[in-house]
């Protein structure tokens, strides 16, 4: 039984397109965590039960192509869409040097909501390679020449600004808790190792994934949370867009940039 990521229709095994909405279905298999042997999705990065990190670290996201092509007019969506569609995963090493520039680019271009939403949903909807790259080259206008077809997965990460470390948001968890070790709600993303982390509460915030989008919520922190330098009141869920700057505590001492990985 394959559940469609777009409309949640249950499709029989062997289905390639959802019977209800014809979206391409991801080929996900259930595997066992090598550490604790509980079932998890083959595409997951961390085991939901024991936190064991699975597979190659897909750390540096390719953000530049999208940032460059982002503008407020819709025709550019073609470019950006095809950039993602044909697999904008370039050589990891070449991107390392460019990661520093990313947050600023994103902040500057942070005012085109519809394109970012489209891009988020697009990233969510393009998990599996083989049929997709074939159809899109016929359609694209300014397609970048990407020779090989790359696996595309829906995932998001938080780039810690002060240390330049990329933290994957565990994709299979419905709620991801952010904070420091404690007895009540242990954090899934533990920031205690980062500089100035004493400003962060033990139960600071959480991220939840719903319907292909991520929502950030402050769960009652002492020093507050700021999204793009605007205070986020506790209990308000902010829908994360690629490039959002999340600061835990006042003064931008522990900050993350929300990124969508492809």
């Amino acid at each position: 039984m394959i559940t469609c990521p777009s409309c949640a229709h249950p499709n029989p095994d062997g289905a390639v397109n959802c019977e209800a909405c014809f979206t391409l279905l991801p080929i996900v298999k259930n595997i066992h965590c090598p550490n604790c042997h509980s079932t998890m999705l083959s595409e997951a990065k961390f085991c939901g039960h024991c936190g064991f990190k699975l597979g190659e670290p897909m750390s540096i996201p390719t953000v530049l192509p999208i940032a460059n092509s982002m503008s407020n007019s819709l025709p550019n969506e073609t470019t950006e869409d095809n950039t993602m569609g044909t697999g904008s995963l370039e050589n990891l090493s070449s991107e390392v040097a460019n990661v520093h520039n990313v947050p600023e680019n994103y902040l500057a271009e942070n005012n085109s909501p519809q394109i970012q939403e489209l891009e988020e949903v697009a990233a969510y909807l393009e998990p599996i390679p083989h049929p997709t790259p074939q159809s899109e080259p016929d359609v694209s206008a300014n397609k970048p020449a990407n020779a090989s077809t790359q696996l595309q997965q829906f995932a998001a990460s938080l780039l810690h600004v002060q240390t330049n470390l990329n933290i994957e948001i565990p994709a299979h968890l419905p709620v991801v808790h952010i904070g420091k070790p404690n007895m009540v709600i242990p954090p899934d993303i533990d920031v205690s190792g980062f500089p100035d982390s004493d400003i962060v509460s033990r139960i600071h915030a959480d991220i939840r994934a719903e319907g292909g989008s991520f929502y950030f919520e402050d769960t009652g922190s002492s020093n507050g949370t700021y999204i793009n330098n605007l205070p986020l009141p506790a209990g308000n869920r902010h829908k994360l867009r690629a490039g959002d700057r999340i600061s835990l505590g006042k003064g931008d001492k522990v900050s993350f940039v929300f990124q969508v990985i492809e």
Binding site: V16, E19, A20, D81, L118, V121, Q134, S135, D138, V139
Partner: protein, 424 residues
């Protein structure tokens, strides 16, 4: 006159080892152009709404469009006009298109007043049309600008379906912004015809002409696709059959013994009807019987149709058999054209799901589905639809409701490939 029938599988290769593989089959059907270049004469009926809301410019432009339409018809065609408000009456009786002036005068005499009862209009339209249907291609254009306040929508759908049983096709035209797009779409789908949108009076003339050109290209009528599936092939459970070109229409089907029958309706000579079938193939049982085979038969398809020029009914075309290649190391061999049809159907289904969610009150879900639809439209190269759908998604997300005009534009964008960019 005969039928052009071509079939293409979404992916010709089939994995020997996989128990259940899903494939899509695209079947394209059209009428081959007749030797002398003439199609059967037309038997056209215009069912026009002249309720009070049509007063002034709207009715004037519709009357002018109707008169221009009559000018473009041929001597051997027949025309009839029915006007309706909360009751229906015959304006022009079913007659040959020779006394042009008297026909146009009668059309001009329509006055706007009264309510709206679409089903009575359709019923009278059917009666007038049937007077001239033998040996001709019967087509009914139903134009309305509002909701069916004095009528019953279910009756509309029943009459529409009844029309097809008598080999008459119903097309629906929505004028302005106050009509119900769900009702008019259902009338067109049930009637085997197309739905058109006339956003403002100026567009009436061109839409009428466009529809006329389309029905003048009809060569064969009452076409049905008959499929014989192999025992190891089955249709998908949910909505397995749909037309994807020229419009997207969900198609119901009947089973007669082993055969699956889908009604296509009229076949044009210039435009193909493309129907997509969603099937599952389980090669295991076939492989047990034929272990060394490299090909696996899927189904055979043929068309049953009427030839109006020869007054011939139930002619059968030569059946075509389709097979897939069984491969050991499966590599997909995607057929790009079929992928495009998949995207067209996906665009329609996703937009319909968004509408469903909107009606249930799930705005966020609807916006997400509209974005998926926009992306699908972009993938298939339908930039106009993508723009319309994306705009709607954004509007929903910012919390504003969609205007009536936008909802109609969206429905048309999802159903067809927009010919002209939407007016700003």
């Amino acid at each position: 006159m005969s039928v052009n029938l071509t079939c293409k599988l979404s992916d010709r290769h089939l994995d020997r080892g996989q128990g259940n593989s899903q494939r899509q089959l695209a079947i394209a059907v059209s009428a081959s152009a007749s030797v002398d270049g003439n199609n059967a004469p037309l038997n056209l009926c215009l069912v026009l709404d002249h309720s009070g809301s049509m007063g002034g410019q709207p009715l004037d432009t519709v009357k002018r469009a109707a008169r221009d339409l009559v000018d473009r018809m041929y001597l051997q065609d027949r025309i009839s006009v029915v006007g309706f408000d909360h009751k229906a009456h015959v304006v022009v009786e079913n007659q040959a298109v020779d006394k042009l002036e008297s026909i146009k005068e009668k059309i001009q005499s329509l006055k706007a007043s009264g309510g709206t009862c679409i089903d009575d209009g359709i019923k009278l339209g059917l009666q007038e049309t049937s007077k001239g249907k033998d040996g001709r291609v019967s087509q009914i254009f139903v134009l309305t600008d509002g909701e069916n306040e004095h009528g019953d929508n279910d009756r509309c759908f029943q009459f529409s379906r009844l029309a097809t049983e008598y080999n008459m096709t119903l097309h629906s035209l929505g004028f302005g912004d106050s009509w119900n797009q769900d009702v008019l779409e259902k009338i067109a789908d049930a009637g085997g015809g197309t739905m058109a949108y006339i956003p403002d009076p100026a567009a009436a003339g061109s839409e009428f002409q466009r529809l006329l050109k389309r029905v003048q290209a009809i060569g064969l009528t009452n076409a049905h696709l008959i499929l014989q599936l192999q025992p190891h092939v089955r249709l998908a459970e949910l909505k397995p059959i749909a037309q994807v070109a020229p419009d997207t229409i969900e198609l119901p089907y009947q089973t007669e013994g082993n055969a699956i029958i889908v009604r296509l309706g009229d076949l044009m000579t210039d435009v193909e009807r493309i129907v997509l079938f969603n099937i599952y193939i389980s090669p295991t049982s076939y492989l047990e019987a034929n272990p060394t085979s490299t090909e696996i038969p899927i189904l055979s398809a043929q068309v049953r149709f009427d030839i109006p020029t020869l007054a011939q009914v139930n002619t059968l075309s030569t059946p075509i058999a389709i097979a897939a290649d069984l491969v050991q190391d499966y590599q997909p061999q995607i057929e790009p054209q079929v992928q495009n049809y998949l995207l067209a159907l996906g665009k329609y289904r996703q937009t319909q799901l968004a509408e469903q969610k909107l009606q249930e009150g799930d705005r966020a879900g609807a916006a997400t589905m509209l974005q998926s639809a926009a992306k699908t439209a972009l993938q298939m190269g339908d930039h106009n639809a993508s723009t319309v759908l994306q705009e709607n998604a954004t509007r929903l997300q910012t919390g504003t409701a969609l205007s009536e005009a936008e909802r109609k534009k969206t429905r048309i964008a999802s159903k067809t490939v927009l010919q002209v960019p939407p007016n700003p």
